[in-house]
Each structure stands twice: as C-alpha cells, then as structure tokens.
C-alpha cells in the first residue's frame, strides 16, 4: 500500500463511524433521539468538511491515486482517487445529506425506537453514494452502489405495516437488484475484455503493451452498455425510470428527498468518472446513445409529469426529465462536467426542499401527496407557499433560479458537441415543464376551500426548506462562485 493516507477515504470513514456511533447510542439511549441528532448532523458536516480538505489538497496538487494493488504505476489499478470530482462530491453529499436529514427529522421523530436505524442507514447510504464517486475501480463502484441501494431499499419500506411503503420497498428492491446485477455483469464483461477492473484499464493496457488483449470488441461494448443500464436505472433515465414514481410515492415523504438527491449526485458523478474520465476511447460510441436517452428522458419525464395528480409522482417524473437535461450535459464530455455538477448539486437542494415541504404538508410518513392538498398553501402558510413556489420555479428552469444556469449550460455544451436537436427538445420540454410546475404554483396561490388548517413546520424542516430555497435563489442570481468551483470538479 503506497500513498496510504486517511484523507482520500475520510468521507467514508467518517460516515461509517457516525453510523456505528448512532447505532451504538441508539441501543444505549433508546428513545432519546435528541442524543443522536447532533451526532448525525456532525457526521454529515464533518464529511463535508473532509470534502473541503480533500478539495484543498487537490487544488494544492496533492490529489492523486491511492491504494494501488500493483507496483506497476502504469497499470494503475488504484482503489481510490482523490480529485476534484470526488472532493466536490464529498462536499455536496455531505451538505445535501445534512439538509436532507434536517428535512426528514420529523419522520425520524415519529419513528420512536427505530429512529436510530433510520439515521444510521442514512449515513451508510451516503457513504455508499460517495464510494461510487471516489474510486476508479469498477467493483468498488459496485460496492458503493449496493451499499447505498440496500440502505435505500430499507428506507423506502421503513413505514411498518404500510401497504404502499412495502410495495415501494419491494419494487425498489427487485428492480434495483436486477439493475445492479446488470451493472455488475457489465463490469464482468469489461473485465473480460480488458483484463482490468480499472476504468483506465482499457487504455493503460493498450498503451503499455502496444497490443490489445481485447479479443472481441463487442464484449467491451456490451459491458459498457450494461454499466450504462445500471447507472441509467439509478439516475432514473427513461426508459429505465419506471421504478422511480412508484418508489417515491410509496416511500415515506421524509426519506425520499435524500433518495432522489443522493442517487442523482452519485449516479452522475459515477457516470462522469467512468465514461468521461475512464473509457475515453469509447466516447464516440456512447455519446450519441446518451443523447438519445437524454431526449427520451426529457420527453417521457415531462409528458408523464404533466398528467400526474400526486406531487410525489410528479417530482419523480420531473426527476426523469432532469436526468435528461443532466445527460445532455454529459454529451459534452469533459466540458459537460461543470454544468452537470452545477445542475445536480442545485437540483439536489431543490428536490430535498420539495420533499421536505411534502412531508410538512402531507405528513412525514405519508405515502401520497395529491396536488390538491397544496391548494391554498399560501393561505395556510405564506412562508411554505412561497418557499415551494421558489423551488418550483427553480426546478422549472426559470432564470435567476438555480435550475436555469445548470440547464442552459447543459444545453450549451450539448450544442457545442453538435447536438442542437437535443437542445431543441430540451428547450421545448422545458416549456411543458412550466405547465406542471406552474400548476402547482397556481394551486399554492389559489384559494383552497376545504382545508385551512394552519401549517407550522418544525424548526428542522423549516431550516431545511429555507436552506434549499435560499440555495435555489442564491445560485440563481449569483452563480459564479459555484461555477468557479465546479470548473475544477473534474476527474483526473
């Protein structure tokens, strides 16, 4: 083990430690949730802090590859890489995790004894998510993916005795496992083709031996395709998205935010890591295909969202569309990574904020959120009404809200790559998006007749929503600080 150091894996270590501590304290302290609240919070913030340290180290030039298994540097089969991509992912995941935990605190509070499990799973999931971004080794990516997924399966079904929650968990589990298996088979085929589990393997081996051991290029391509399938599934790109609405709807509202946000962050970071940072020579193959998937996602996501009557499902479908826009950024290759980061990190805050509001309005354990229940929200709670409106505007891609910058930059890089047709589809589906986001906004400001109970969200939920909304507006009006940062958030 050369280059062994704590920092590159600090995020995972802190998260795991935090998770263990929470479980331990949970056993000891029983129902005293207040005890682990600070532990979990500190864990997330410490993880984000570790991310900042990683970022500093990277910008000082001490990033690089760690935990290599081979002496031969050129073979490069390191287990961990510390670069802009992983460091930024750490920061974002830490912060999003923190905010999401705040947002789900109402749910945690209602869980009683099991709440420590919930928090620990959250911490574990985020650890797994970051693991997907921090390694060039495909198997480690798989392990991270499974760590996160398995945690999420449980979180989705966390409400005991709820038919919908169970259904959600089982669907997520069966389909998720299927997709994971496909991803893993992709890894195996890639291994078969290149003889390496590293994303750099295919190139480095070729460089070193001046020959290729790839006997059948089809095997490598099939492997890549299967890895795409697995990741497309995770980021819920159409047509691999069908699980998302059902799972989001059935899962407790307080838990969905993290599921939706975290998987997107890690999924896209992993896509960027594997296909933009790694298999460079296959770019010509996957770019047009990703463009097509992006287009399908945009179209399917927006049109389906248009006909939804449940806000959770609507957000799920809109997430499909957002994946489409993010994939449009991917089409731009390395140039697309900063827009992708900007987009996905702001989206993460928005979606966490949105689901937190859902959990505030419809209850943290709710498995349904009819849009009608948001009618007259501004009257019941002007604050919540406006915050939801801001988040909706942000998601719809209105300028001076964060969604705009990411989306348009994604279009720009797609345009640069020559995919103008994708840009046109993107802008047009954005309009369809206005239709359903504004339907929600209309409802907020209309005079709701049946329900005028005042809504008084808990401090933590309020805090989570306000942070999301502030981020939405702030990065919309003053995007450059974040843009400057994400410009460096690239894989090696």
């Amino acid at each position: 083990m050369q280059n062994a150091s704590f920092l590159p894996v600090a995020f995972e270590v802190i998260q795991l430690a935090g998770a263990l501590l929470v479980l331990l304290v949970g056993v000891i302290a029983g129902k005293q949730r207040r005890v682990w609240a600070p532990i979990a919070g500190v864990t997330f913030l410490a993880s984000a802090g570790a991310g900042v340290l990683q970022w500093r180290a990277v910008s000082e030039g001490s990033g690089g590859f760690f935990f290599s298994t081979q002496e031969l540097e050129i073979m490069r089969s390191p287990m961990v890489v510390m670069d802009g991509l992983s460091a930024f992912a750490a920061i974002v995941l830490g912060l999003v995790g923190f905010v999401a935990l705040l947002g789900s605190w109402d749910l945690v509070a209602s869980l009683g004894k099991r709440s420590s499990e919930f928090v620990a799973l959250t911490l574990l999931a985020v650890a797994g998510l970051h693991m997907m971004t921090v390694t060039p080794n495909l198997v480690v990516i798989f392990i991270g993916l499974e760590t996160a997924s398995i945690s999420f399966y449980v979180l989705a079904g966390f409400i005991r005795g709820s038919r919908k929650s169970d259904e959600s968990a089982l669907k997520y589990f069966l389909l998720g496992s299927l997709a994971s298996a496909m991803f893993l088979y992709g890894v195996a085929l890639t291994f078969a083709a290149t003889g390496s589990l590293s994303i750099y393997g295919v190139n480095s081996i070729r460089d070193f031996f001046s020959i290729t051991i790839i006997t059948e290029p089809g095997i490598l391509l099939a492997g890549l395709a299967l890895m795409f399938v697995g990741l497309f599934f995770k980021i819920s790109a159409a047509p691999f998205h069908q699980w998302a609405p059902d799972v989001y709807q059935g899962a407790p509202s307080g838990a969905v935010g993290l599921m939706a946000a975290g998987v997107k962050i890690a999924g896209f970071a992993a896509l960027a890591r594997i296909f933009i940072g790694g298999f460079v020579s296959q770019t010509d193959v996957w770019v047009p295909i990703v463009a097509v998937v992006a287009a399908i996602s945009m179209i399917v996501g927006t049109t389906m969202a248009l006909v939804q009557t449940d806000l959770k499902r609507l957000l799920a479908y809109s997430g499909v569309a957002h994946s489409g826009y993010l994939l449009a950024a991917m089409v731009g290759g390395i140039r697309g990574i900063p827009p992708m980061w900007f987009y996905v990190s702001t989206y993460a805050f928005m979606i966490v904020g949105a689901f937190t509001i859902v959990s505030v309005v419809c209850g943290p354990a709710s498995t349904a959120a009819p849009i009608d229940s948001f009618k007259g929200l501004a009257k019941r709670s002007p604050e919540m009404g406006w915050l939801l409106a801001i988040i909706m505007f942000g998601m719809s891609g209105m300028p001076f809200f964060a969604g705009f910058v990411g989306k348009v930059f994604a279009f720009v890089v797609a345009g640069e790559a020559g995919y103008m047709w994708l840009v046109v589809i993107g802008t047009l589906t954005t309009v369809v998006g206005f239709a359903f986001y504004l339907r929600v906004v209309s409802g907020i400001f209309s005079s709701g007749d049946d329900d005028d109970r005042e809504i008084d969200p808990s401090l933590s939920a309020r805090f989570a929503i306000v942070i999301s909304a502030v981020a939405t507006v702030l990065f919309g009006i003053v995007p450059w600080p974040l843009l400057d940062v994400v410009r460096e958030a690239l894989p090696f």
């Binding site: 449980v154 169970d166 259904e167 968990a169 195996a188 390496s196």
Partner: protein
Amino acid sequence: MSLTVTWFLLLGAALFSIGVAGVLIRRNALVMFMSIELMLNAVTLTFVAVSKDLGLIEGQVAAVFVMVVAAAEVTIGLAIIVAVFRTRSSANVDELAEMKG
C-alpha cells in the same frame, strides 16, 4: 475442442439470461429474487473464468465481493418480502400494483 474461456463466458451469459428470464416470468417475489441471485452467480462465474484465463487476481477478489453483496441483498430482500407478505399475505408481485400511472 478445448475448454477455452469463451465457453465459460457463454455459460455465464446463459445463466445471466436465465436469471433475467426468471425475473420476468415468475410471479413470486421470492423466486424472482432467486433469479436475481442466479444472475449474480453468472457474474461471479464470469469473473472467475476471466481471472483464471488472464492469470489475474482481481477477478477472484471481485467474485468474493459479489458473494458478500449478494448475501447482504438476501438479508434485506427476505426482510422486505416478509414485510410484504405480512401486509398482504401473498408474495405475488402481480398483486403489488397499488401505485401506477
């Protein structure tokens, strides 16, 4: 006709496909899950075969990891299936369609 690695790869592919078919065809959640386990085993087979063929250790390490992950999935999966069975007293996934559209 010697037993080259290609045969193992083909066997892996066949097992994987059978697994996928199982997921698609069977209605029982438990059997579906077993099909997924079959897929994972197909992967393991592929890993090991390639690893042996190329004389690399990674593939075998990967195989071990896959088994661990599969084990983890089993525990969670069974728990979920049991939970579903409790609320619906059925593990038939076709009845599991309250949420759609």
